[in-house]
C-alpha cells in the first residue's frame, strides 16, 4: 500500500472529523463531488451534514468559519486554489487573525490553500502567497513538504487554537508517496533536517525541499555534503534549527518558490545574519522565483521557479565563495 500527499490530506480530514465533533469542512465543491482535487472525497458521505458546499464567496466562507469558531467549532475551509484566497483576504487578515488578540476568544480555523506551481497552470492557479499571510500577526502558516507532514501537520493545524493557513503544494499532490501514515510527528513550529551535510545549508520549504534534495544528491557526486532544512512552518519560523545547521556548515542558501521581494528567504537571512552573524563563512544567498506572475507555458514556468538545477548552481557558486 502507498499513500499520496493528497490522500494524506484527505485522511487527516477524515481523522479530524471522526475524532472531533467540532470539526466541519466548508468550501466550493467539497461535498458530494469531493473537491476540485478530491481532497474531501467521500467525506460528505462518511460525515453527513459536516462537509458542505459553499457558494463562490471566499469572504463569507472565512467569515462563517470565524463565527463558527467563536461558537466553539473547528472549521476547515478549503479554498479551491490559494490564488482565490485574495478574495477572502480581508476576513483572514483582519477578522480571524485579530479575534483572539482583541477579545481573548480563540479562533481555531484552518484555511487550506492548495498552492504552488504546476506545469500549465498559469498566473492565477500557481501562486505562492504564504509570505502575505506570515506578515500578519495572529496567523500560523504551515507548509508541509512530505506526505507524513501533510497528514500530521493538518491534524495539528486543526488542533491549534489559532487560525492556521495550511499551504498544501499541488505539485506534491500526486507525485509524492509514502508507505504509510505516521503515528508520530515533530511538533508544529519545528523545522526538520531533511538531509544532513556539513558544507552548506539549504533552508527551504514545501515543494522546494525536493528540488533541494535532488540538488544535494547531485552535489554529493561532486564531493559536497549539503544539509537541507525543511522549515515545515514558516510562521512561527524555527530559527534555532536553522542557526544550528548554519553553525555546522557556515554557508546558507535560502530557496523559495515565491516571489523575490520579501518573503521567507529574506526573513531567514535577516534572522541568521542579525542573530548568528559569526556563524557564516560566506555571504548568505537566496534563490526565488522571478519577479513576474507565474507563466503558463512549461518552458517559461521551468525558468520562472527554482529547480534542482538552479539550486545546485546557486549552491556551487556559494561553495566556491
Amino acid at each position: 500500500m502507498s499513500i499520496t500527499y493528497l490522500e494524506a490530506i484527505r485522511e487527516a480530514q477524515a481523522h479530524a472529523l471522526r475524532d472531533d465533533p467540532r470539526v466541519f469542512i466548508y468550501g466550493q465543491d467539497v461535498g458530494a463531488f469531493g473537491g476540485a482535487f478530491k481532497a474531501t472525497k467521500n467525506l460528505q458521505k462518511e460525515f453527513p451534514g459536516r462537509v458542505l458546499d459553499s457558494p463562490i464567496s471566499e469572504d463569507a466562507m472565512v467569515g462563517l468559519a470565524v463565527g463558527a469558531a467563536i461558537e466553539g467549532m473547528r472549521p476547515i475551509i478549503e479554498m479551491q486554489f490559494a490564488d482565490f484566497s485574495t478574495v477572502g483576504f480581508n476576513q483572514i487578515v483582519n477578522q480571524a487573525s485579530t479575534l483572539f488578540w482583541r477579545t481573548n476568544v480563540p479562533c481555531p480555523i484552518t484555511v487550506r490553500l492548495p498552492f504552488g506551481g504546476t506545469s500549465g497552470s498559469g498566473p492565477f492557479h500557481s501562486q505562492c502567497i504564504e509570505a502575505i499571510y506570515a506578515h500578519y500577526p495572529g496567523l500560523v502558516v504551515l507548509t508541509p513538504a512530505t506526505v507524513e507532514d501533510a497528514y500530521s501537520m493538518l491534524l495539528g493545524a486543526v488542533a491549534v487554537n489559532d487560525p492556521v493557513i495550511f499551504c498544501e503544494h499541488k505539485f506534491l499532490y500526486y507525485h509524492l508517496k509514502a508507505e504509510k501514515l505516521p503515528s508520530e510527528a515533530l511538533p508544529i513550529g519545528k523545522a526538520r533536517i531533511a538531509r544532513e551535510g556539513r558544507d552548506l545549508t539549504i533552508v527551504t520549504y514545501s515543494a522546494m525541499v525536493h528540488e533541494a534534495l535532488v540538488a544535494a544528491t547531485e552535489l554529493a557526486t561532486e564531493g559536497w555534503e549539503i544539509e537541507v532544512v525543511d522549515l515545515r512552518s514558516i510562521k512561527p519560523l524555527d530559527t534555532d534549527t536553522v542557526m544550528a545547521s548554519v553553525a555546522r556548515t557556515g554557508r546558507l542558501l535560502c530557496v523559495g518558490e515565491a516571489w523575490p521581494w520579501g518573503g521567507v528567504t529574506a526573513e531567514v537571512i535577516a534572522r541568521v545574519t542579525s542573530e548568528g552573524y559569526g556563524l557564516l563563512d560566506a555571504p548568505p544567498q537566496r534563490l526565488n522565483a522571478k519577479d513576474t506572475p507565474v507563466p503558463y507555458h512549461p518552458n517559461l514556468w521551468a525558468a520562472h521557479r527554482p529547480t534542482s538545477r538552479s539550486v545546485a548552481a546557486a549552491a556551487r557558486n556559494l561553495l566556491r565563495t
Partner: protein, 342 residues
C-alpha cells in the same frame, strides 16, 4: 445602569407591549445621553481617536436590541449604543472602551465602537463594513449544527455598507443556509458624506431582498412605534424559521459621521423633512399619548441615566490605563507558537 434598565428587560420575556416599549425607550434615553457624554469628552480632548454617535437612530437600534434574547447573537455597528445597551452591555463597558481602560472588554487594545464579547454572542465589529454579517452567519450555523434552536442573529449596518461585496456574499450565504439572520439597514441617506444617489440606484433598498430570496421589511426609522412593530415582526419571522430578514429603515443621522464632522453636506430641506424628525421626541410623544408613562417619570429616568453615566465615567477615569509592560505582545492563543516577542 445595567441594573436599572435591564430590570424590566428580563431576557426578551417582557410581559406586555407597554413594558417592551418602555424598556426600549429607556435604552434610547440612556444611549442618547451616553453618546452626548462621549461627545463632551471628545471635545474636551479626553478621548483618543474618533467618537461616533447614533443620534437619530436610537429607536431603530433599541428596537432590535430589545427583541433579542441574551442567547441570541448581535453584531451592532457604529450607531448602535441603544441596541448594545438593550442587548445587555453595561454602560461601563462602553465607557471603558472609549477611554481605553485596561479593565474594559477590549483592554485598551481596541477602542470606541469596536467592542463586544464574542463569548456572549455580542460580536465586536472590525471596521471593514459588511464583514460582520458572515461572522453572525457562522455563529448561527454552528449553533444549528449543535442542535440549538429558536435563536436569531442580528447584524446592523448603514445603507453605504450594502455596496460592499461582504454584505452581498454574507446575505446570499445566509439565504442559502436559511439562517435566522436579521439584517437591519439604517438608511440614513448618507454614508459619511456620500448621498444615496452615488451609493445605489435601486428605488428602495428593500427591493434587494427578492434577489436573495429573503423577506423584506420597510419602516420609518425615526418612528419609534413602527420600528418596534416591524423589527419585532422581522425577529419573530427569523425565529420561527422563515430564514433571513432584511429590515430597511429610512431615517437621518442627527449628527456628523463622527464628532469631527459637522455634516454640512446634509441639506437643510432634508433635515426639516419628516426624515429629520428626532426619534427620541417621537418616542416620548408616543409613550405619553399612549399613557405608557408620564413626563415626571421620564424626567426621573433622565436624571438616573445622567447620574449613572457620570458615575461610570468618574470610575473609569480613576482606572488604570493599559500598561505596555504587562502586555504579552502576542496575537496567538497558542503562546508557544508565538514569536517576535522581546
Amino acid at each position: 445602569m445595567s441594573q436599572t434598565v435591564t430590570e424590566s428587560h428580563t431576557d426578551g420575556q417582557i410581559g406586555s407591549a407597554s413594558d417592551l416599549h418602555l424598556a426600549a425607550f429607556r435604552f434610547m434615553l440612556w444611549a442618547r445621553l451616553l453618546d452626548e457624554k462621549f461627545a463632551t469628552l471628545y471635545r474636551a480632548g479626553k478621548i483618543h481617536g474618533g467618537v461616533f454617535l447614533g443620534r437619530g437612530q436610537e429607536a431603530l437600534s433599541a428596537a432590535i436590541g430589545v427583541h433579542l434574547n441574551k442567547t441570541d447573537v448581535f453584531a451592532p455597528l457604529i450607531r448602535d449604543a441603544a441596541g448594545r445597551l438593550a442587548f445587555g452591555e453595561p454602560i461601563i463597558d462602553a465607557v471603558r472602551t472609549y477611554m481605553g481602560s485596561a479593565l474594559g472588554p477590549m483592554r485598551g487594545r481596541d477602542g470606541n465602537v469596536h467592542r463586544g464579547k464574542p463569548q456572549d454572542g455580542y460580536l465586536p465589529m472590525i471596521s471593514h463594513l459588511g464583514a460582520m454579517i458572515s461572522v453572525v452567519n457562522g455563529v448561527l450555523f454552528a449553533r444549528r449544527m449543535k442542535g440549538i434552536k429558536g435563536i436569531v442573529g442580528a447584524a446592523c449596518l448603514g445603507e453605504g455598507a450594502t455596496s460592499t461585496g461582504a454584505f452581498h456574499e454574507a446575505l446570499n450565504q445566509a439565504a442559502v443556509e436559511k439562517l435566522p439572520l436579521v439584517l437591519v439597514v439604517a438608511n440614513n441617506q448618507f454614508s459619511y458624506s456620500t448621498p444615496n444617489d452615488r451609493q445605489f440606484a435601486c428605488a428602495d433598498l428593500a427591493h434587494k431582498a427578492v434577489g436573495y430570496g429573503v423577506e423584506a421589511h420597510s419602516v420609518a426609522g425615526n418612528d419609534f412605534a413602527a420600528c418596534m412593530e416591524v423589527v419585532g415582526r422581522a425577529v419573530a419571522r427569523a425565529r420561527a424559521g422563515h430564514g433571513p430578514q432584511l429590515v430597511v429603515a429610512d431615517l437621518l443621522r442627527l449628527c456628523g459621521h463622527g464628532e469631527h464632522d459637522d455634516a454640512g453636506y446634509i441639506p437643510p430641506d432634508m433635515k426639516n423633512s419628516p426624515l429629520g424628525r428626532d426619534c427620541m421626541k417621537l418616542a416620548e410623544e408616543f409613550l405619553l399619548k399612549k399613557k405608557f408613562t408620564d413626563a415626571a417619570q421620564i424626567a426621573v429616568w433622565r436624571s438616573e441615566a445622567v447620574r449613572e453615566i457620570e458615575d461610570a465615567v468618574a470610575q473609569v477615569q480613576r482606572e488604570p490605563a493599559p500598561d505596555p509592560f504587562a502586555e504579552n505582545w502576542t496575537a496567538l492563543a497558542t503562546e508557544n507558537l508565538s514569536e517576535g516577542r522581546e
